[in-house]
């Protein structure tokens, strides 16, 4: 398995090279003069030229590409002039926010999708099956920016149950002591109940909003694969040897129906970054998604390049992890 993993990693190198090329080409055809964007429209021409030289914008494209590759090998993802920091430091400071949101939305999605998918499969055409159908409609057809705004209208404007949907914690509270960067976890670890309450209240709506797509797909997958597994001989054997319905479904059925769902869950993890762009923009969540939107709207090369690169590479790694997990869940899977 280790050999297979290493070979797959080696196979990712040409793909990563392709991804680097595409992101480079993409960001260099952005409209507008980047030097002018950095200095501002009113800057003196000499100053604009100086910036152009300093950043290498006056060099031919292939030299810019070569410089970019050298820079990547040094672990330098460039400088985001719209924030005034290096992309790496922006990424490090914003990543925990996105990770917290992604994990929370994955958790919400799975907590609902797995039992619902199983219930819908084991009791076809019951209320659970209908709920699964409605959810599948919402997840596949409702745009998350609309869903997010509806949730805000209902839970903040109309019912007043949740605080203003801005950021990760109320403005009048200090964020919890930095341990992991995940506010919910940090406030638990430092036993800061006020911070815990506020960060949970801020997390719930964006997490629910972002979880919808995943929830719908995973419910559909679990339901479909469970329906197939239920008809297998070993399930009948498990039932006839006197196991409870629960044990049959969860111990024998669920594990076997998880494999096809696992691919989808893995792919969804990658897709969540795309979802984060919209969700974070609506809820003013200070993460990577919001950063991508800000960078694109201010035509800032380096962060766009870095984030598209990171998201595509991350996607490749997630796929690899999923493939390796198959073997853990199903010992019959062999890696060649």
């Amino acid at each position: 398995m280790l050999k297979y993993a290493l070979r797959r990693l080696a196979m990712m190198i040409p793909s990563i090279a392709g991804i680097v090329m595409i992101t480079f080409i993409l960001t260099r055809i952005l409209p507008g003069d980047p030097a002018l964007m950095i200095t501002g429209e009113q800057a003196l021409p000499e100053f604009v030229n100086k910036v152009r030289e300093e950043y290498g914008f006056n060099q031919p494209l292939y030299i810019q590409l070569w410089d970019y590759i050298k820079q990547l090998f040094r672990g330098d993802l460039g400088f985001a002039w719209h924030t005034g920091h290096s992309v790496v430091s922006d990424f490090v400071s914003r990543f925990p926010a996105t990770l917290e949101l992604t994990l929370a939305s994955m958790l919400v999605a799975l907590i609902i999708a797995i039992p619902l998918g199983i219930a819908a499969a084991s009791r076809q055409n019951s209320i659970f099956d209908h709920i699964a159908r409605v959810l599948s409609f919402i997840g596949s057809s409702v745009p998350i920016f609309w869903l997010g705004l509806l949730l805000i209208t209902l839970f903040y404007s109309k019912l007043g149950w949740l605080p203003a949907p801005i950021g990760r914690i109320s403005g009048d509270l200090n964020p919890p002591t930095h341990i992991t960067g995940l506010y919910v976890l940090d406030s638990l670890l430092s036993w800061d109940m006020a911070a815990l309450k506020s960060s949970l209240q801020h997390l719930i709506l964006p997490a629910v909003c972002m979880s919808m797509g995943t929830m719908a797909i995973v419910t559909k997958m679990i339901r479909a694969s469970m329906l197939e597994v239920i008809r297998q001989d070993f399930m009948r054997t498990a039932k006839s040897k006197g196991l409870s319905h629960r044990a049959v479904i969860y111990r024998h059925g669920l594990i076997n129906s998880l494999i096809p769902s696992l691919t989808v869950i893995g792919l969804q993890f990658g897709a969540l970054l795309g979802g984060a762009v919209i969700t974070e923009t609506i809820f003013v969540w200070p993460g990577i998604g919001n950063y991508v939107t800000e960078s694109i709207l201010s035509a800032d090369y380096a962060p766009i390049q870095a984030m598209t690169l990171i998201s595509a590479v991350l996607y490749g790694f997630i796929n690899l992890i999923v493939e390796l997990l198959y073997g853990v869940l199903d010992p019959r899977v062999r890696y060649e």
Partner: protein, 277 residues
């Protein structure tokens, strides 16, 4: 039984999609107001007998803007998916038919494009091409190319091994004729399904781009952009500015999904969607 349910869903999808297409076509005749008609004295009215869906912050009639918005949305979706299929289908067919280095090269590029989250790629592309409707539809089209190429590749690899293709080769039919007159028509069913489902995602991505400020320019009536204007008013309670355009997007996408899923079940009985198992 299964067939009947599939047909029913197909019919519902077809009705929804057709309804939006007809509304888009007749918008200038049935819309009570012009899409950009500003009446400041009527601004921010909740739904009433004159303005069925209320008015926005400029006093523009939301119902009329939604009708005109259907034109933008459906047109953008069709052009974008048109671009994607015109480029993606021949690429996939060529890669599948010739295989070897050319095929491998084409498909690796498609794989790389598929590695990007589609919205992020579309955003980067739309920003590169420049904000506006043209940039958005080109971006949405490019993002959808790999899906078509991959589908056509898979189909071609299977069909080219069939006997009738071998027979055409033996008869000396030109390779381009084999690809476009023999292989393509036989792969049409899944392609039609992909076009329908692709239209749904094109509507979603275009409206997302407009919502983020990368799609159409104001004052064009476009559903995603309308929701974006309404965003500043939800806190103060003017829900109609976001609710109605959002419902329009959701029903359109839903229609395309039902139509696509239904077509798949009817056209390709071997590949049932999981819903009807």
């Amino acid at each position: 039984m299964r067939k009947i349910t599939a047909k029913k869903l197909l019919l519902v999808g077809l009705i929804i999609v057709l309804a939006w297409v007809i509304l888009a076509l007749v918008a200038p005749w049935i819309a009570p107001f012009g899409p950009d008609e500003i009446r400041t004295e009527d601004k921010l009215q909740s739904p009433n007998m004159v303005h069925w869906f209320g008015t926005d912050n400029f006093g523009r009639d939301i119902f009329s803007r939604i009708l005109y918005g259907a034109r933008v949305t459906i047109w953008t979706g069709m052009v974008a998916i048109g671009i994607a299929s015109v480029v993606g289908i021949p690429l996939g067919a060529i890669a599948g038919y010739f295989g070897g280095k050319t095929g491998n090269f084409i498909m690796r590029i498609m794989d790389i494009l598929l590695a990007f989250p589609s919205l992020i790629l579309a955003m980067a592309l739309a920003a590169s091409i420049g904000p506006g409707l043209f940039g958005a539809l080109l971006a949405v089209g490019i993002v959808a190319i790999p899906e078509f190429a991959r589908l056509m590749y898979g189909q071609t690899v299977v069909i080219k091994e069939k006997e009738f293709i071998e027979a055409s080769k033996a008869l000396g039919v030109r390779q381009s004729a084999i690809i476009f007159q023999h292989i393509l028509p036989n792969a049409l069913a899944p392609v039609v399904v992909q076009i329908t489902l692709g239209l749904g995602s094109a509507v979603l991505i275009t409206s997302s781009l407009s919502f983020l400020g990368l799609g159409v320019k104001p004052p064009t009536a476009e559903w995603g952009a309308m929701i974006s204007y309404g965003r500043d008013y939800i806190i103060s309670g003017e829900w109609w500015m976001t609710v109605f355009p959002g419902a329009a997007i959701a029903t359109t996408i839903f229609g395309f999904i039902l139509l696509g899923d239904g077509l798949r079940d009817v056209l390709d009985p071997h590949r049932q969607s999981s819903r009807h198992k």
